[in-house]
Symmetry: C2
Subunit: 491 residues, 2 copies
């Protein structure tokens, strides 16, 4: 078993270097002096170059070939599955294509930000066309004769296919469009009003993080422009942001990132610094962040507790009682921005992007036509016109970074969260009693046991299927959304 030992020893250093690269990313968004950006670019390029060389080292192929012939434990077999997938994917992409993609996407992000600032998609279109062309090439190299888009998807959600996702969205779209129309005919509930100081929001956000089981001895909370979670094992950090008029932005961002972070923190410690030591896919990751944020954090029971806590922390917050607070937390409004969307409309944003990016990658949609295609589709699903590109096809950074295949995992996460929530409530019938006291432990313990602790041991759909006792479908999420918003809006 020398090959196995050698491979795992080698892999451990690669994982450790990956953690370092992640921590540099965290530092860049939280601590780095603004004048250090160029130097940081060189540092990131250096460590990425080391990582790429390690991931494509031909010795990995030899070790794998020798080890795969052995009789392996379930854990070791899973480790090898991850290593082989990573090795084959890294090896299939020619080095000059990989470095051209890195170069072009790092520049494209700046062009995107500039174009968004000017609401000028046309100036960004040629840059985006170059990114699309390179990702098409990469997808073809990765697909090895298979479907190009599926090959890109594989980076974020191993095993998922566009055909599967298309069927899932086909089930979701009509029900969500219909419900959205009915809800928006009703008057919108009032929002909060009051004084929400930055320090007080950060203190409250820490209280929420602890309430959801985030372990601050192995993490920390800082402010950043965009909330995110970063790191695995015993160093999993989150960021959040405050808004003087909208404390929910801070609090629900925090609960969302805590969901991601707790997934990482709760993985079996024996998997640390191995391929099993991180969340298994973007979709499963998002299922944890979304169930923490929505099915738990935006539940009537939990918001009842949160209402009392917010009154204690902030005084008069402008809503009369727990019912009004619950309605404010779950307010549905006409808006254009995905990241600020409610549970009802969120997946409509995603399926729009999914269809458009598939058409971009297949070549059916020329990049030059993206803005008009976006606006037409938006009108069809949301019912009104996009007034400018920054509220439309320039709102997200993803495509400028070459992240095609990524958006769908957000919806997949929502669907998984719907299934998990059903199974959780079946297993823990008195969950609301605990949530109403601010006690999430029955839920988070169940999630740790059923999903989180396994890390990368099972494939994404497999871990959800095992946790729920059935293969995931969109129905539980749709039923939950329809019940919840019909009740709040009196439909």
């Amino acid at each position: 078993m020398t090959a196995l030992t050698d491979l795992f020893t080698y892999q451990k250093d690669t994982e450790a270097l990956g953690q370092i690269a992640g921590r540099l990313g965290w530092d860049q968004e939280t601590m780095m002096p603004r004048g250090a950006a160029d130097q940081r670019g060189e540092e990131m390029a250096a460590i990425e170059s080391v990582l790429h060389a390690r991931r494509t080292d031909p010795r990995i192929g030899d070790w794998l070939a020798a080890a795969e012939g052995e009789s392996l434990s379930e854990v070791d077999a899973a480790q090898l599955r991850h290593i082989r997938r990573s090795f084959e994917r890294a090896s299939r992409v020619p080095a000059d294509l990989a470095s051209e993609l890195a170069r072009v996407t790092s520049v494209a992000q700046g062009h995107w930000a500039e174009a968004r600032g000017k609401d000028d998609f046309a100036s960004f279109a040629p840059v985006l066309a170059r990114v699309v062309a390179l990702r098409q090439q990469e997808g073809q190299a990765l697909a090895n004769g298979g479907d190009t888009y599926d090959a890109l998807l594989e980076d974020y959600e191993p095993g998922a296919t566009a055909v599967q996702l298309e069927a899932m969205f086909a089930e979701m779209r009509p029900r969500l469009v219909e419900l959205r129309g009915k809800v928006l005919e009703k008057p919108a509930p009032a929002g909060l009003s009051g004084t929400f100081g930055e320090a007080e929001q950060m203190a409250f956000t820490a209280k929420l993080a602890l309430a959801f089981g985030y372990d601050l001895s192995r993490g920390r909370i800082d402010m950043a422009v965009h909330p995110f979670s970063s790191g695995s094992g015993s160093d999993v950090r989150i960021t959040t942001r405050t808004s003087a008029t909208d404390p929910f932005n801070c609090f629900y961002s925090t609960i969302h990132e805590v969901g991601h972070a707790c997934y990482e923190q709760n993985i079996d410690a024996g998997y640390a610094l191995t391929p099993l030591g991180g969340g298994v896919s973007m979709g499963v990751h998002e299922s944890q962040s979304r169930i923490y944020e929505n099915q738990l954090g935006r539940s009537r029971a939990f918001t009842g507790w949160m209402f009392e806590e917010m009154k204690t922390a902030f005084g008069d917050i402008g809503v009369a009682d727990a019912d009004a607070f619950y309605a404010a937390v779950n307010r549905v409004q006409k808006d254009f921005i995905r990241t600020e969307s409610d549970e009802l409309q969120y997946n409509l944003h995603i399926m729009l992007r999914f269809d458009l990016e598939r058409a971009l990658i297949s070549g059916d949609l020329p990049v030059a036509d993206l803005e008009s295609a976006w606006n037409t589709r938006f009108k069809a699903d949301f019912g009104y016109d996009v007034p400018k590109a920054s509220l439309g096809c320039l709102q997200d950074v993803h495509w400028s970074l070459g992240l095609f295949g990524y958006f769908a995992t957000y919806s997949l996460g929502n669907v998984y969260a719907g299934c998990l929530s059903n199974a959780l409530r079946a297993d823990v019938p008195d969950l609301d009693t605990a949530l109403a006291a601010g006690n999430t432990a029955p839920a988070t313990t169940w999630l740790r046991d059923k999903v989180q602790r396994h890390g990368g041991l099972y494939e994404p759909r497999e871990v959800i299927t095992q946790a729920c006792g059935a293969a995931p479908t969109a129905a539980p999420l749709l039923d939950y959304i329809e019940a919840k918003f019909s009740e709040i809006y009196g439909l």
Copy 2:
């Protein structure tokens, strides 16, 4: 010139990875969650292993051999000098010795901390003996037939020798011992009293950092247990600490670290991420931190400004006027701890360590006898007994980390600072007028121009000699100390 280009391209990534390792060290002391220590150890080991492999890559030898035959600019020749030195030193140490040293010293630090906590040198002696034995082996490998201690010294102060340092200390010791005796017969000036809140100290410390020219757009100030400066180029961070009763501890630590940080920040930007892009030696580095801290920061002129600023920031600080404040800043007291020592006694602490560690490395002093040798020497130079090991031979972490040859560079820095201060005052006769207004620019601009901007371009003694117009000697420092403390203490 392909070899030169290839070598420099390769070296740039090595330097960038070195910066990353340094930033991980900063993170560990400032931001890292306490539960992440073990994982961080693995991460550090992984990047150190990458760095070691890069520094000993045989291609470096080939590139050097090809490039050294070419006609080279002064800058390129200096780059090659640094790369060759690093390559030869890294290549001379057998890999198993290097990894054994890393392993033993990482464990030894914990043993040292435990022994210091119990004031029990005997329990630490066997561990230290192992560190000494390994460093002896390493020194012999590095020396290649030359002097073992000089070979260790070369890591911190290229070109310095024990014989040179011995002569320097021989000149310093009698004059400092005599002055110390006279000063301590006089009554000690009063210290500060008042209320010095943590937030107020940190605000004042930032003001001092700016006053000394620290560029916060390329740096930041955080709290840590031990003050330090970290990083090169456009990301140079410092730490400090506060003390409720002793704000000078915070402020002069800050000015000291700002001296280190400004050296790094002021190096020619064209040298960034090359071997010339960092301070050239520990001694020259310490010359910058010490001249900022002492010859400038503890001068009568600057403390006059600082006294008024402190009254504004803290109200009544318990001293009547600028003269009393100046005396408090420069108070000489009986004490045992090097890091808390004043300008007068500091170098006595260093020469004690220098003599003892040379004897340890030569084998003349068995490790088991270190404590008694320390206590005997302390009595001879300071005039009283060491009551316990934590105030004696267990006070510093250095030897547990294998840092033999390091201490002397502190005194060398003081000596260089004495020479630089003389040359500075000859070139800028009205320096005190500016300092009395809190304006350090005439001094820091001179230091940037004469020393800092060169980075690693010249050898350590060379850059000091060029700046001062004469080779460095201890006389200017001794004359300065005698004049300053005779005046304060009325000798």
